[in-house]
């Protein structure tokens, strides 16, 4: 053991890993000092999650060495990694809604004497750790009563309760609202002071430069480089990640705006049993052919519900007067909406965008299957040729069009969803977080697609939680707050500050 290696909290080197003969990590290295945030960057499929899974003891058949606190380790299970102080906070939370906070924190590690649980002791411990994280919550409350953001923080608390020294966060902010993100960053700051090392994975540029101390980039399973954040400007970072130069991050071209495509008046979406306030309360707007209308709003503002309501996801529960190309349209169900030229890309493709165990062809033709099956008989040949053409225009990367979608990367999955809606020839495309969980190269391609669609006269309504994207791509921006429109801006007027203050519900005299 040398003196220099002992100052590292973690040192991974010469890591190789292959899946049934296909190499996914090739001589990768990574290290981590105590008290730093080390960003692990790279496009989807670069090998980030594989590396993390090796660290976390999920994969055990890799080559190379892993040292924790200067000591060579060889984890054989997740449990062993956890005991060595490594805690991984996954994108999908592993909390159980029906159990209370303390029970979740101690899940699988309950304090007990023989069979009897030491409940009060666990409750006290939990309260202690949560207050350390600045959370004033009762550990007896059920997990499902908290927002995703709070749950995420509780998950971190769970890591700390067991003295985790290396904390891995995999896109922790993807489901968080702006204030929750701030809270998370404050906690990260505190963890740094406690000499924890944090490995942070994200696709959001602004986050990288806000919290990074160092950045390591992987590409196609290879180590590209490590640099302190200050010495790695974003252009260079992107270049490292994609291996080519992207001259423009957000390429919104000249717009050719036509007639009104969609006119919505007094859209109303009722609340749910648990929160009876209407999710969308009397929203009216217009969007023209070739236009991109951005709808900003924090989580719970109702912007996503607005798109779903118009599309008929809630059935006829959503009310309001809608005209498409000047013709009245009654909200009923997705089937009817699709026939009238609406398409909705939902914000969670795994949950409700794709049938994960079907192949690309079956997913792409799902929304337009009647066109491929006159008289109910499927026409596999015409399905194939059509899908092949569409996927080629989208530059979808797959072994074949019969590949199962769950083995595709996030960006390519999103392209499958887009291909599905392109097959329906939509007039109005409702895009709810189209670039969520998509790598930078694919993001760029999605922006180009949006440009292409608007040139063809399609109207787009865009929701995105990434402010720079919203500002750059939208021609007009509506800001929603508590189910109502709080402000409207043209693309020239809009700024990040103005949108955020409107979204937070601040009234401005201007």
């Amino acid at each position: 053991m040398t003196a220099s290696s002992s100052s590292f909290l973690l040192k991974m080197k010469n890591i190789h890993k292959s899946f049934s003969g296909v190499e996914v990590l090739n001589d990768v290295r990574f290290d981590l000092y105590p008290g730093e945030v080390h960003i692990l960057a790279g496009e989807n499929g670069a090998g980030k999650s594989t590396l993390i899974k090796i660290l976390g003891g999920v994969y055990t058949d890799h080559l190379g060495s892993v040292e924790v606190n200067g000591r060579e380790v060889n984890f054989k299970s997740v449990q062993q990694a956890f005991e060595a102080g490594i805690s991984i906070i996954h994108q999908e939370l592993s909390l159980i809604g029906e159990l209370n906070v303390a029970e979740n924190i101690f899940l699988g590690k309950e304090k007990s004497s023989y069979l009897w649980l030491k409940k009060s002791q666990m409750l006290d411990y939990s309260e202690q750790f949560l207050s350390k994280l600045g959370l004033d919550i009762n550990p007896k409350d059920k997990m499902q009563d908290f927002s995703i953001g709070i749950q995420q923080v509780i998950e971190i608390g769970k890591a700390l309760a067991f003295n985790a020294k290396i904390i891995v966060m995999d896109e922790p902010t993807s489901a968080l609202t702006e204030p929750e993100v701030e809270k998370l960053f404050a906690i990260i700051e505190q963890l740094k002071q406690d000499n924890c090392g944090i490995i942070y994975i994200t696709h959001k540029m602004e986050e990288i430069y806000r919290i990074a101390d160092r950045i390591t980039v992987l590409r196609d399973g290879k180590y590209i480089g490590t640099e302190t954040a200050g010495k790695l400007p974003s252009e260079k970072l992107i270049q490292w990640m994609v291996g080519r130069e992207l001259n423009q991050q957000f390429p919104r071209h000249i717009r050719s705006i036509g007639d009104v495509r969609l006119e919505a008046k007094n859209i109303f979406v009722p609340g749910t049993a648990s929160s009876p306030a209407p999710r969308v309360d009397g929203v009216s707007f217009q969007v023209r052919a070739g236009q991109i209308l951005g709808i900003a709003g924090l989580e719970g503002s109702g912007n996503s519900d607005l798109l779903n309501g118009i599309f008929g996801s809630f059935g006829s529960g959503a009310k309001g007067a809608i005209k498409i190309d000047g013709i009245e349209f009654k909200i009923d169900n997705p089937d009817k909406s699709i026939k009238r030229g609406l398409a909705l890309l939902t914000n969670d493709r795994k949950k409700n965008g794709l049938v994960m165990n079907m192949n690309i062809v079956e997913n792409v033709t799902l929304a337009s299957l009647s066109g491929f099956s006159p008289g109910y008989w499927l026409r596999p040949k015409s399905e194939r040729t059509n899908v092949a053409v569409t996927t080629r225009t989208l530059e979808l990367k797959a072994e074949s069009i019969f590949q199962c979608v769950d083995s595709l990367s996030g960006g390519n999955q999103q392209k499958v969803v887009m291909a599905k809606w392109m097959q329906t020839n939509p007039k109005i495309f409702l895009l709810d977080e189209p670039t969520r969980g998509v790598d930078i190269g694919a993001k760029h391609e999605i922006y180009e697609l949006m440009n292409k669609w608007t040139q063809e006269g399609i109207a787009i309504i865009l929701i995105t939680s990434e402010m720079p994207e919203l500002l750059a791509m939208s021609d007009r921006i509506l800001v929603m707050h508590r189910g109502r429109i709080a402000a409207e801006f043209t693309s020239e007027q809009a700024s990040q500050e103005k949108i955020l203050s409107a979204a937070l519900g601040e009234r401005k005299t201007a």
Partner: protein, 333 residues
């Protein structure tokens, strides 16, 4: 490139179809070894096995459709009993022509299934519960229409005496063997229904929708798939196949027993699962179910020609179910 090829070969070798076939082949080989003095080499043994599994196979056809949507149909055994009784009533007691009896029974099955499907999709009730209710209800209905008696050719007269009426021709026909005594009519009926399911699942639009609903119901709904209609259709078809099975059962037993089909739903589920169709929905297929039906059929036949008692047969069948499902499971690791 060679790596890719190897990969493909590997995945083909361990595809669900091959794995399911593996279990069948093993059972078949056991039959070749323990052939009971050559009984297993005779076509007659195989013909009788096919005849014995046909009624179960018919139930498994509908069950496969339902399970692929992510549902389950517990009412198949009861609907079989109800239609077996109804068929006997139509043909023997009321002396209706066979085509009226067949159409009537098919309608009864169809309506029972469609009702389950309607309750499931309209009121969002779990398939397990809705079809459990239908299972109890249909059994009750079978007992009510039959007065709790087996409907046989011994017809009670006004004076209380029993008189034997001749067995209707349709019973004898369905219960017969054709092609020079080489195959049972019920087996032909089963294979026809299997073919119908295969066409539906592989060639027709609703079949694609059935898989999509099982794979991700919400994504299917948001893609414009008429989820409710497809679900009603699936359960209705399951009911229809139950009715076909009920008619066959009545003909084989030469009577309509209101208790017929008791616990058959579990055998049907076992056959579907052994084939490799996932109870979680979205994965599986009708040919896999054929493999499952044959696996159980051969297993039982081999054990019975070797004079293994029912006790041991049941225990072995239980073990085979677990073994077959384990075979399917190791696929992903």
């Amino acid at each position: 490139m060679s790596k890719l090829m190897a990969n493909k070969k590997y995945s083909l070798l361990f595809s669900p179809t091959i794995r399911a076939l593996g279990a069948l082949i093993i059972v078949f080989l056991i039959g070749l070894i323990f052939n009971a003095d050559g009984a297993f080499y005779k076509w007659g043994t195989h013909r009788d096995m096919l005849r014995a599994v046909s009624v179960f196979g018919l139930l498994a056809c509908g069950m496969t459709l339902v399970i692929i949507t992510g549902g389950i149909d517990l009412s198949v055994g009861s609907i079989l009993g109800l239609t077996a009784v109804s068929f006997s009533l139509f043909c023997i007691h009321w002396s209706r022509p066979f085509y009226i009896a067949i159409i009537g029974c098919l309608l009864i099955g169809l309506v029972c299934g469609a009702l389950s499907g309607f309750i499931i999709s309209r009121f969002n009730i779990q398939p397990f519960i809705a079809t459990l209710a239908m299972m109890v209800f249909a059994r009750g209905l079978a007992k009510w229409v039959s007065g709790g008696q087996k409907i046989s050719t011994a017809v009670q007269q006004a004076d209380g005496t029993y008189e034997y009426v001749p067995v209707p021709d349709v019973f004898n026909f369905i219960n017969s063997k054709i092609l020079w005594n080489n195959i049972s009519v019920v087996t032909i009926i089963f294979l026809l229904c299997l073919l119908i399911c295969a066409v539906l699942l592989i060639k027709l639009r609703p079949g694609r929708y059935i898989y999509a609903i099982g794979g991700n119901e919400e994504a299917a709904r948001l893609s414009g798939v008429p989820v409710k209609r497809i679900k009603v259709l699936t359960y209705a078809l399951s009911g229809l196949f139950c009715a076909v099975a009920g008619i066959c059962q009545a003909c084989q037993e030469l009577q309509g027993d209101p208790e017929a089909g008791f616990t058959y739903e579990l055998s049907a589920i076992a056959m579907v699962v052994i084939g490799g169709t996932s109870l979680r929905g979205g994965r599986g297929g009708i040919w896999l179910t054929l493999v499952g039906v044959l696996t159980i059929g051969y297993l039982e036949k081999i054990l019975s020609i070797n004079a293994v008692g029912e006790d041991k047969r049941l225990m072995l069948t239980g073990a085979i179910i677990i073994a077959a499902v384990l075979l399917q499971k190791t696929r992903k690791s």
